[in-house]
């Protein structure tokens, strides 16, 4: 298994490099190759989760061993949290590729589309695997540059403008992250995350660290579209082709924004009260304001984009609350419950928001519009889309027995047990708001009188699109099993454990 870790980066990179060469000569090569690559990665990560007993694998690139306990090469670290993120990235990526077969027919340059998609997945895999700070920056740039191009894939006015806005904010974020990394290198003289954690714990000075932490939170907050920095998200996510919106909303903001925040602030920096408070406040703002902004939207994909901000707020609240409880020496069980709720909501959100964007794509494919006012009565003509989007809407608004209910329940119970009653009340309130705007979506899109006046009859979408949607719809139900003991230990618990034993990460890697 040890040597297989690097395959998560090599395989998508290799397919991305092969597609422009061979794809010109063999029709459908690009689709087959990207599908096979992602299928292979899915099996690989499932194999690790079910047989590896979640031991932490450290892969030293180019075989450079540490000298006097100072790592000199780049380390790749596959532990519970990375495996959790890898599972999300590759499985959603697989379904999205399958969906794109039919959807992307109306665009030209399919070779470039699959190349960029593979590059984006390679970048995200690299980000979640790496144990080196500068390497994280490099792979993050691969993922975001590919996503800039993918957002502008339709090359119409809206797409170009959204992509430019996304590039401006994303560029500022990248430079802030680079500045933070350089300051950190100045302070600690090393780039390995475990080693940085070790060095920082021996230094008494905290002013520098606080400054760096704030810069990094701003940078990754822009990448993850937390509320004061969210301006790019609704445009970018609604303008991209639907499979890409599904990747961006479902996976990208988690892998490069939220994951980086979690990893850096749990495992690299020592947790401090100020940072925990900042993260919780940002999460609360995102949750409430994102939800309120979503109600007023009539463009279907913009509604979903704002709801992404709101749902990511739940994740960040879970994470921040865990930090707050840990730092105030609260009950460790409650802290781990909050973190588990956050991570559980992360995987759930990947599934149902991915599915909802695919539904929006299917509606756009069939009717040619994204405006909710011009839809209506689609339930009769599009049974698959209608039923899957119903299941996703129920899941996202937290109706039992769908998965969204359990993750929200975990977060709320943890908030009550940790005596953050205001947070618990807000979480319940936002859940009700979510239900309201998804009922609006359901009503206007599927159950009103038919208002659609296009030329052709509305038909159900082709098989590949329907297949992806059905699989995700079923996953919405099946994932609720993750909460029960027996299954929880395979996927969720190892990830939570990594975060709970905050400093264990560094000592495990540098071996002190």
């Amino acid at each position: 298994m040890d040597n297989l870790v690097i395959l998560f980066v090599i395989v998508p990179l290799g397919s991305a490099f092969l597609i422009p060469i061979i794809g010109k000569f063999i029709p459908h090569f690009q689709k087959a190759l990207s599908l096979l690559a992602l299928l292979f990665l899915c099996t690989l990560i499932l194999n690790y989760l079910f047989t590896g007993n979640s031991q932490c694998i450290i892969y030293k690139v180019a075989g450079w061993e540490a000298v006097e306990n100072v790592p000199i090469g780049i380390y790749l670290v596959l532990d519970g949290l990375s495996a959790f993120l890898l599972l999300i990235i590759n499985s959603i990526g697989f379904l999205v590729v399958f969906y794109s077969f039919s959807y992307m027919r109306k665009y030209t340059a399919e070779n470039y589309f699959y190349t960029l998609l593979c590059l984006m997945i390679a970048g995200m895999n690299g980000v979640v695997l790496t144990g080196d700070l500068f390497n994280l920056y490099v792979f993050l740039e691969i993922a975001v540059i590919a996503s800039y191009a993918l957002v502008a894939f339709g090359i119409e006015k809206d797409e170009l403008e959204a992509s430019f806005k996304y590039q401006v904010l994303g560029g500022i974020a990248s430079l802030l992250i680079l500045l933070g990394i350089s300051l950190l290198y100045w302070q600690t003289k090393t780039l390995n995350m475990a080693d940085i954690s070790h060095v920082i714990s021996t230094q008494a000075d905290s002013k520098t660290t606080l400054f760096i932490q704030i810069i990094l939170i701003t940078g990754f907050g822009i990448k993850g579209a937390m509320i004061p920095f969210h301006a790019w998200l609704p445009d970018a996510h609604s303008s991209a082709p639907s499979p890409i919106s599904s990747m961006l909303s479902g996976v990208l903001i988690k892998a490069i924004g939220i994951y980086a925040i979690i990893r850096l602030f749990y495992n690299m920096f020592a947790i401090t009260y100020e940072i925990a408070l900042i993260i919780t406040v940002i999460g609360t703002l995102s949750m409430v304001i994102g939800g309120l902004l979503a109600i007023g939207q009539w463009d279907l994909k913009r509604l979903l984009a704002y709801s992404s901000i709101s749902q990511m707020g739940y994740v960040v609240i879970g994470i921040g609350m865990g930090m707050l409880i840990l730092i105030s020496n609260g009950d460790k069980m409650v802290a781990s419950m909050a973190v588990a709720g956050g991570l559980f909501h992360l995987i759930n959100h990947a599934v149902f928001k991915g599915l909802l964007f695919l539904n929006a794509g299917a509606i756009e494919y069939a009717t040619g519009t994204r405006d909710l006012k011009q839809m209506g009565g689609l339930a009769k003509d599009m049974p698959v889309t209608s039923s899957t989007s119903m299941s996703a809407s129920m899941a996202i608004s937290g109706i039992p027995p769908f998965n969204g209910f359990f993750s929200k329940l975990l977060i709320i119970i943890a908030a009550i047990k940790g005596q953050y009653y205001l947070l618990a009340a807000l979480a319940v309130l936002v859940s009700i708001i979510t239900l309201a705007y998804f009922l609006k979506f359901q009503r206007y899109a599927f159950f009103n009188k038919t208002k659609y006046t296009g030329s052709a009859l509305v038909k159900e979408v082709p098989f590949t699109m329907a297949f992806s949607m059905i699989v995700m719809g079923v996953l919405c139900l099946v994932l609720s099993l993750l909460i029960f003991p027996g299954i929880r230990e395979i996927i969720l618990s190892p990830a939570v454990e990594v975060l709970m034993e905050t400093t264990e990460y560094s000592s495990k890697i540098i071996g002190l």
Binding site: I6, I10, G14, L18, P20, Y59, K60, V61, A62, G63
Partner: protein
Amino acid sequence: MSKIVKTATGLLCGVVFMYGLYIITHGHLTPGGGFAGGVLVAGSFILLILAYGSDVLMLRKEETESSVTESSAILIVLILAVIGMFAGGAAFMNNYFQFGEVGELISAGVIPLYNIFIGMEVASALLTIFLAFVIYKKEVLK
């Protein structure tokens, strides 16, 4: 462009091209390396295109060729890196050749090879980008 400009550019870009190659091949000995040299090589081609101009059909053909070159070059870099998993230290990106004497031209294991292919990749990538801009301006923004 006038004849003087064309002749002068022809001579100059030969020199730039050779200097680029020198920087690429001596990347492990003197300042510079695959990136600087690759940009110089691309620059020599860009100079030629700027001075002589060319009709769009020719440019489009060159664009396809340079983008294929680019993909193949970076694929070779990846393959060179993967070979490390089976040779020598059995790790990705491992330096598995004989090192040789420090300071000789043929030394430093795989590093010169990396330099050459990275230089090729950078040169063709920049040329592709430039040609894409030029073709776009010629076809659309007349």
